[in-house]
């Protein structure tokens, strides 16, 4: 309404223990990248830029999980200089695949002898960002979905709530018109307990969902796990499929522990 040029919001992208795939998703927005750079000031994005503008930042995207003592301090700083902090991807929202270390047995730790473990400073667990600082929004996925990442950013620019449904993958699968792989083929599929967002790609490719977006906001494992068994999974299979990229997400973690106790 006013002719005054608006200040471009400052965007920062941060990395913790991760594969870089979620921040790469931003660079995969080939059609939008240059336009985005006009609307926001990409102030800190180490993977893409040597320039490093100081904070505070209007929006920080944080990738990766906390696995070292230095990480614990660094995330506090990032929170302090960020007006909004959005975690992106399974590592940042659930500890990632590296949270499999959380299940490692102490005896196994000691049995595996390594030449110089003292060179390495690492924590015994991999934890999500939200376990350390308040997070404004968590974008799920291993990796995050490109359209959803753009939605989070544009919603932030427009001041609206990002339209990121937390229901099951089945919603997307049906909307896409994909034939249910469980009902029609007897293929085990985590779709009914998995958070939507990917666009139901696995069932569309004839494969059961493997839960890379973590649990949906409404799961019923006691009813769901017998279905996996009906379709041929045993206890070990069930534990394995829940313990992958979102293994430390509370709903998956609890279900896998319960399964292990059987």
């Amino acid at each position: 309404m006013t002719a005054e040029p608006r200040r471009r919001p400052k965007l920062a992208v941060w990395k913790f223990a991760s594969c870089d795939g979620c921040q790469l998703t931003l660079l995969d927005c080939e059609d939008e990248l240059l336009g985005l750079a006009e609307q926001v000031e990409i102030a800190h994005f180490l993977e893409a830029s040597s320039a490093d503008a100081p904070g505070p930042y209007d929006l920080s995207l944080v990738e990766g999980s906390v696995t070292t003592p230095q990480d614990v301090e660094r995330i506090q700083h990032i929170r302090a200089v960020s007006a909004r902090l959005v975690t992106i991807g399974a590592c940042a929202t659930a500890g990632g695949v590296q949270a499999l270390r959380n299940y490692a047995d102490v005896a196994e730790f000691q049995a595996a002898v390594y030449a110089r473990p003292d060179y390495i400073a690492t924590l015994a667990t991999s934890t999500p960002i939200g376990a350390h600082v308040p997070v404004d929004f968590e974008l799920r996925g291993c990796p995050v979905d490109r359209r959803q990442l753009l939605e989070v950013i544009t919603a932030h620019l427009a001041g609206r709530r990002p339209d990121i449904p937390a229901h099951s993958v089945c919603f997307e699968c049906k909307q896409r018109g994909t034939v249910c792989v469980t009902v029609a083929h007897g293929t085990p599929c985590l779709g009914p307990v998995t958070h939507a967002g990917c666009g139901a790609i696995c069932p569309t490719y004839g494969r059961g969902c493997y839960g890379c977006f973590g649990p949906s906001n409404s799961t019923n494992f006691p009813s769901f796990i017998p279905l996996l068994r009906r379709d041929g999974m045993d206890t070990l299979d069930v534990v394995r499929v829940l313990r992958t990229f979102n293994t430390a997400a509370p709903a998956f973690d609890a279900a896998s522990r319960k399964e292990e106790e059987r």
Binding site: M1, E32, G35, L36, E38, Q39, E151, I153, T154, A155, L157, A158, R160, D163, P165, A166, H167, S168, C170, F171, K174, Q175, R176, G177, T178, V179, C180, T182, V183, A184, H185, G186, G191, P192, V193, G206, N217, S218, T219, N220, P222, S223, F224, L227
Partner: protein, 385 residues
């Protein structure tokens, strides 16, 4: 609208090919059953060869399997994973877009996409009823839905009577099949016997009659007409399931506090599949999107489900948080409060919700259980809660 009473005719498989060609020639996109990804889906077809001749289905709660049929029938299969709402009430629709002009005004442009002109081939009587039900919801009230109305008005419906109900079908108890009710442009009954593979055809509208006139045909012989009638009658006796023979609207109203809802909630995954496959479920949510500049916005709507926690959200949280309340909302709406809202049942007995529920929850079984519970514990008004 119906021109029922015009004499039925018989066409062969070539007539079916000609029907597809004629409809295509009239500028319509023909949607019909075809095999894809291990199921009989509804998709655009360009010729009779794409129809699922010789393929049937085995249905049970939570399972769907294709099987071969010896008789080579094209329509001897019951409801598949989708319904026609995919085309009439699509999963995602843009309603309008808006620009913020430099002077701060708001200019809204309605979506003016011209609705496609469909011909649906193989509309089951239950699905024909489902379309009529969605008509009432989306065009029968104070306002009409322009997207739905545009598609609906341009759609040509070829009904096919049901001769092969599945184990999950219960249209008889819902009064929606297996014989076709009104609302079709053409109605077919498939007959395969020693006399050959043929279809008894009736026109239900002027356009139906005019399309029919273009097809290679012969007058209906008594044997074919009788065979067609018998097959549909036999289908009525082979329903895999039935609803309890009680007033379902009252049953639902009187069992809101039943314990059975806890029982079904223990099984329900709240995955939303039943609502997505249901041919009458119409709920949607709106979604506002903006571009990076923030000066262009669009309003979309997409299918939504009462199983979604966010479906009933208020600023303080969801109204229906428990799975119990969400399943109950779905079932009581479908079977009960739909009457209050739209004057009919919302269920047509197609059985899709039973088949495509991963854990095989069966709405007919739930209704029977509620009926039994009500009988065992007469209602006391509000009941315990």
């Amino acid at each position: 609208m119906a021109t029922d009473g015009s004499s039925p005719v018989v066409i062969g498989k070539d007539g079916l090919d000609a029907l597809i060609a004629t409809l295509t020639g009239r500028g319509r996109t023909v949607i019909g059953p075809t095999v894809r990804d291990g199921a009989i889906v509804l998709a655009e077809i360009s010729g009779g060869g794409e129809l699922p001749y010789g393929r049937g289905v085995e249905l049970e709660a939570g399972t769907y399997r294709l099987r071969e049929r010896q008789d080579g029938a094209a329509f001897a299969h019951s409801a598949g994973p989708q319904s026609w709402k995919t085309f009439l009430h699509p999963p995602r629709v843009r309603e309008w877009s808006a620009e913020r002009t430099p002077d701060g005004d708001l200019v809204v442009t309605e979506d003016d996409t011209v609705a496609p002109s469909y011909a649906f081939l193989g509309v089951r009587p239950c699905d024909l009823r489902a379309i009529a039900i969605q008509d009432r919801v989306l065009t029968g009230g104070r306002y009409t839905d322009p997207s739905y109305q545009g598609r609906r008005e341009r759609a040509f419906l070829v009904a096919v009577e049901c001769t092969e109900p599945g184990a999950t079908c219960f249209c008889v108890s819902m009064g929606t099949g297996p014989a076709t009710g009104p609302g079709y442009d053409l109605a077919l009954t498939e007959v395969v016997d020693a006399d050959g593979h043929r279809f008894l055809v009736r026109a239900g509208s002027e356009e139906g009659a005019s399309v029919l006139a273009e097809l290679p045909q012969r007058a209906a012989d008594p044997a074919t007409a009788t065979a067609a009638r018998e097959r549909v009658a036999q289908a009525a006796d082979r329903m895999g399931r039935s609803m309890p023979l009680v007033d379902l609207q009252t049953l639902m109203r009187e069992t809101l506090t039943a314990e059975r809802w806890d029982d079904v909630a223990a099984r329900c995954l709240t995955c939303g599949n039943c609502t997505m496959v249901c041919p009458t479920c119409f709920c949607t949510s709106t979604e506002d999107v903006t571009d990076l500049t923030g000066d262009h916005a669009e309003r979309w709507r997409h299918w939504e489900s009462c199983f979604d926690l966010d479906f009933s959200h208020l600023p303080t949280g969801p109204v229906r948080e428990s799975p119990r309340s969400r399943y109950r909302q779905w079932a009581t709406h479908k079977l009960g409060t739909w009457f209050d809202q739209f004057g009919s049942s919302g269920c047509v007995g197609c059985g899709r919700c039973i088949v495509w529920c991963p854990v095989g929850i069966d709405i007919t079984e739930e209704a029977h259980a509620l009926d039994r519970e009500r009988a065992a514990r007469p209602p006391d008004g509000t009941g315990p809660s």
